[in-house]
């Protein structure tokens, strides 16, 4: 099953009894606060345009109240848009009939929730097969599939437990198993890990990355945590007051924050885990040969390998194996600790 991308175009959401009437005003620049005070409507989303590539993890990041939950709920239309399109596999989800929408939700999407939202009267197994129950799949078949995913998320032996007998981290594993058992192309995760303790959270991120490497679903992951966004996101979109203020790869956002708001966010980031060697390398000078690193290696990994090998200069090789530049330890370390100046960023601009 090849994954399809999701394309959001010109999406507006204005909460209130007559949202449509205020779209023009918002387009012509009326602010969220103004709309709220003068017209008693809440601006949820403003002119969202994001292409979420198929088979990739797209992270939507923003502070509380920035409209993340509103945005992700447009993808399975738990929230009706005011105007705009959400295109999946050539179809506009916003225009589906109720029965088409139900089929779409049953077969193409699965969702994981911040507060788990498990059914308290059903066991782990019964929760896991919920989506298949809804589709009318007989229990004999659904339990077999459910069992497989329960084991994959590390809950073997807990099939007969009820959610209230499990810790938060385990409950979210059930949430994940329930979503995966649906075998849907789109996986929607609304702050799925935000309620978990930091250590368990990193565990669960690893679980997701491992599964994704194999399943290649189109994942939309919501978070308010930049580290999480950078670790998981193939693509990151940053939301503020219902508007996308920057989108791109994690590296792009860390190296070239679109404004001071994002700059203040990325200041604290562990740059060594985000920035890749080809971004800060200098043109190759010496003869080819010696210690080499593939392009795409993060600075942290590069530093580890170079110190382990006891070299101070490494050659960077492209995907085809040909050298494309070189990197010395001094440049590497300064890139890890100081914000990169304009000269250096020019090289990614050229990419």
């Amino acid at each position: 099953m090849a994954s399809h991308g999701i394309e959001i175009r010109g999406l507006y959401k204005i909460f209130g009894p007559n949202g449509k009437a205020h779209v023009e005003a918002v387009k012509s620049g009326v602010s969220k606060a103004e709309l709220n005070e003068r017209h008693a409507h809440v601006l949820g989303l403003k002119d969202i345009n994001i292409a979420m590539p198929g088979g990739c993890i797209t992270v939507v990041m923003g502070l509380s109240g920035s409209g993340k939950s509103t945005l992700i709920r447009h993808i399975n239309r738990l929230i009706e848009p005011t105007t705009g399109e959400v295109i999946y596999d050539g179809k506009d989800i916003c225009r589906m009939s109720p029965s088409d929408l139900r089929e779409f939700r049953r077969h193409k999407t699965a969702m994981v929730f911040q507060k788990f939202a498990l059914l308290p009267h059903r066991t782990v197994m019964e929760n896991t097969v919920y989506g298949l129950d809804i589709q009318g799949v007989p229990r004999s078949e659904s339990t077999r599939k459910g069992q497989q995913w329960i084991e994959r998320v590390g809950l073997a032996g807990f099939e007969k437990h009820y959610p209230n007998q499990l810790s938060g981290g385990m409950q979210q594993r059930v949430g994940l198993a329930r979503a995966l058992t649906n075998d849907a192309d789109i996986l929607l995760m609304d702050e799925a890990y935000s309620a978990l303790d930091p250590l368990i959270r990193v565990d669960m991120q690893t679980v997701l990355l491992e599964l994704q490497a194999e399943l290649k679903k189109t994942v939309v992951f919501i978070t308010h945590d930049l580290d999480e966004a950078l670790r998981l996101g193939d693509k990151i979109a940053i939301l503020r007051d219902g508007e996308v203020i920057q989108q791109g790869s994690g590296q792009e956002i860390v190296l070239r924050p679109a404004d001071d708001y994002i700059a203040s966010f990325v200041k604290e980031v562990n740059r060594g885990r985000v920035i890749q060697v080809q971004t800060v390398m200098t043109p190759a000078t010496g003869a080819p040969g010696g210690f080499s690193l593939p392009s795409g290696t993060t600075l942290e990994t590069a530093a580890k390998q170079m110190t382990a090998a006891g070299v101070s200069v490494a050659q960077i090789v492209g995907r085809d194996g040909n050298p494309i530049g070189q990197l010395d330890l001094t440049t590497l370390i300064s890139a890890m600790v100081t914000p990169v100046g304009h000269e250096e960023t020019a090289s990614i601009a050229a990419e």
Binding site: R106, A110, F113, A117, L119, H121, I134, Y162, Q165, L188
Partner: protein
């Protein structure tokens, strides 16, 4: 006092009621009209009464004619299965045996039969109304005032329209009991469904549940403890109303109590009262324990 009347105009002293003959005429017209209406629709009324009569008679006969030891065993089994509590089961045994010893077994069976039937009917009527109410705010705001009136009316008042339409007898009494006991069933079904966690409902939607699947997979199971509380209240109110309904011909413990009041039979009245209290406690404890058991899985143990 008389002195004040001598200086006041007559109108302000004795209340200016419309003349007796006028009231008599109005009463006659309304009563006759009503009776005519009842006669006209007698087949419809019969259609309601007949099946109830059959059902009630069947259950009454079953309870009264079965050997007491079988009835007691069945009762204890039901109480134990519902409550899973030895204490409540033992209490039930003691209570029922005492009732039998003082010679009230048969009357108690009659009362049990009518309470059982009225509770079943109240559930059958109340559950769907509660479900519809929970689905629509408009229906809720239409039905709520009706329930408010029903719950503020003194129980005696229910008997008037029931007697006029259905006459005197067991079934009219049963109908009065049902009308009196159904409001908590409706209210708590509505409440229970409305209290279901919005996050869980959203999850059900996200997986593509149809409205029916949502109702049966999520809303009803999660509302069940609240609905059980409604059933408990309905049983308690049926028991209370069964005593009042003895005035229109319902037999059993209620009738005995009424007789005791009319004739100032102290001991007889006391024993009947004791029997009523005993079965009230049995029903209450068993149904509450059952409700608690249903709630077990929804309680949060882990944060």
């Amino acid at each position: 006092m008389m002195a004040i009347c001598s200086i006041l105009p007559d109108v302000l002293c004795s209340f200016p009621a419309v003349s007796d003959s006028y009231i008599r005429m109005a009463r006659k017209t309304i009563d006759d009209g009503f009776r005519g209406l009842v006669r006209q629709y007698s087949h419809l009324i019969d259609a309601v009464v007949q099946p109830l009569q059959t059902f009630l008679n069947f259950l009454e006969r079953l309870f009264v004619n079965s050997p007491w030891i079988l009835v007691l065993a069945a009762m204890l089994a039901i109480v134990y299965l519902a409550s899973r509590s030895r204490g409540i089961t033992l209490g039930t045994a003691v209570g029922m045996v005492l009732i039998g010893v003082v010679g009230l077994w048969e009357d108690t069976m009659v009362t049990l039969a009518i309470v059982t039937v009225s509770t079943l009917i109240a559930i059958v009527i109340g559950l769907p109304i509660g479900i519809v109410m929970a689905r629509s705010d408009r229906v809720q705001s239409a039905i709520n005032p009706v329930l408010d009136v029903m719950q503020t009316l003194p129980s005696f008042v229910y008997l008037i329209p029931v007697v006029v339409i259905f006459g005197i007898g067991k079934v009219p009494g049963l109908i009065a009991v049902v009308i009196y006991a159904v409001p908590p069933m409706i209210r708590l079904t509505n409440l229970g469904i409305r209290l279901v966690d919005r996050d869980v409902l959203e999850a059900a939607d996200a997986f593509g549940s149809s409205p029916g699947q949502k109702l049966w997979n999520v809303q009803m199971p999660l509302a069940l403890p609240t609905i059980m509380a409604g059933i408990n209240q309905t049983i308690m109110m049926s028991l209370a109303m069964v005593v009042v309904a003895s005035m229109v011909g319902v037999g059993g413990l209620g009738k005995n109590t009424l007789q005791a009041i009319n004739n100032q039979f102290f001991t007889f009245g006391f024993l009947n009262g004791f029997a009523l209290v005993a079965i009230a406690i049995i029903f209450d404890r068993a149904s509450q324990a059952f409700g608690k058991r249903l709630q077990k899985h929804t309680e949060v143990i882990h944060g």
